[in-house]
């Protein structure tokens, strides 16, 4: 039979852990609400730009932009990986990093050269530790990310893409927020925009000013910035949702543990009392 004092101590320890998980759950759910709104408002922007780019590209059969086709390429791949700044969010960080690592291994296996641009402390730590080649790192930006930061990132990526002949594609790895209990790591090809959907064109042509190519190339940085901003917002919402779920589970587990320990404690207390009474009664009987 465990000692009463030991059980009491364990109950206290679980209780204080529960306080922490409970507090984290509340913080995560308040951040989550805000983050979800932000992710939802960011979406129409890049969707509309993408739609417009697809229209421009399918309008003209001879359409040729450097962002759609690139001739010379020997297989360097830039991966933009978005993870969280903190842990204790269930499988959120490990899922996204596992996906990024799988892609890196795949690029290597095909003789390519992976370069990473990690966003989020956890991603930065991971890739620095693995000794991967990094373009630039960003940490603690997700919570207060602005479109201007995303524009800087997009500018850097596009400059790198244009300057380095060997860079053949830019890919984005982030967590897509599906529902409060479901977040999916996602991998998407960003540049070149090889898979623009072919749209049915109506007979009347669109008038583009100054020209379709100029307009298209001008749209790419905005599209990329919108996409990165959206992906950061989605990932941040996912992180908060994942953390809230993880902390909710931890709080539930702690409650269950406290219940079990209290039961054990009461049993032990009862048996101690019973024993004491038996001893007193035994002692009294012996004196008669």
């Amino acid at each position: 039979m465990p000692n009463l004092k030991d059980i009491k101590r364990r109950i206290h320890s679980v209780e204080s852990t529960m306080q922490i998980t409970k507090a984290m759950e509340l913080v995560a759910s308040s951040k989550f609400r805000h983050a979800k709104d932000r992710a939802e408002t960011a979406e129409p922007f890049y969707r509309s730009i993408y739609q417009l780019m697809a229209e421009i590209a399918s309008e003209d059969p001879y359409f040729n932009s450097q962002y759609v086709h690139k001739q010379t390429a020997d297989g360097a791949v830039l991966l933009i990986v978005i993870a969280g700044d903190r842990g204790l969010a269930g499988g959120f960080n490990s899922a996204i990093l596992r996906m990024a690592q799988a892609r890196i291994d795949e690029v290597r296996a095909q003789g390519g050269n992976p370069i990473v641009m990690p966003i989020g402390q956890k991603a930065v730590d991971y890739f620095v530790r693995r000794g991967e080649k990094l373009l630039k790192t960003y940490d603690h930006v997700a919570e207060h990310a602005s479109i201007y930061l995303a524009m800087d990132m997009a500018e850097l990526v596009l400059q790198t893409y244009k300057r380095h002949e060997s860079l053949c594609s830019v890919e984005l790895i982030f967590t897509n927020y599906v529902s409060p209990i479901k977040q999916l790591p996602e991998h998407m090809q960003v540049i070149p925009l090889s898979e623009l959907p072919e749209l049915d064109q109506k007979k009347s042509a669109v008038e583009y000013e100054p020209s379709p190519e100029v307009l298209f190339d001008k749209l790419v940085p905005q599209y990329l910035a919108g996409l990165i901003y959206g992906a950061i917002a989605e990932s941040f919402a996912s992180e908060q949702a994942a953390r809230r779920t993880a902390m909710e589970n931890a709080t539930d587990n702690a409650t269950e543990m406290i219940d079990n320990l209290s039961l054990q404690y009461n049993r032990a207390r009862q048996s101690a009392i019973t024993q004491e009474i038996t001893e007193i009664v035994g002692g009294a009987n012996a004196q008669q």
Partner: protein, 145 residues
């Protein structure tokens, strides 16, 4: 007057979504006015003012920080990284960001990339000031390096 569907979309919010009579936008090629039934059209927007004639005939002005305008058969869309209505702009805030931009331009004299960005920031601030009725009325052209 015939109405048409119009939306202004930014990454932070949808500024407007509804029916209007007319919109006048500042493109890189000059100002264009769009009425209902306009041919399909797309153009790059400069940082500047956009004038919207609402459903009830009232005029609203918005500060738009560049972007693109697209007219399709059923609706007209403006996509911009930032846009706000004239009456929403806080002139003090715009003035502070103008000064901030000037300081950045000073700092970034020898770095073309940063200078370019600081110039854009200055343009946005001047545009907000002028649209909100607190500026000089004209937007300075960015200095070429």
């Amino acid at each position: 007057m015939r109405l048409f569907k119009f939306t202004i979309v930014t990454p932070h919010r949808t500024l407007f979504d509804g029916e209007i009579q007319e919109v006048i936008a500042r493109t890189t090629e000059g100002d264009v006015g769009i009425l209902a039934g306009h041919a399909r059209y797309a153009a790059i927007l400069k940082t500047g003012v956009m004038t919207v004639k609402m459903e009830n005939g009232s005029i609203r002005k918005a500060a738009v920080a560049g972007g693109v305008i697209k007219v399709s058969d059923d609706k007209t869309t403006v996509l911009s990284t930032a846009a706000e209505w004239a009456e929403e702009i806080d002139p003090d805030w715009a003035e502070r960001s103008r000064q901030d931009a000037l300081a950045k331009i000073e700092q970034a004299k020898n770095e073309p990339d940063r200078l370019e960005r600081a110039n854009l920031k200055l343009q946005r601030a001047l545009n907000r000031l002028s649209v909100s009725g607190h500026g000089t009325g004209t937007i300075q052209a960015p200095k070429k390096k």
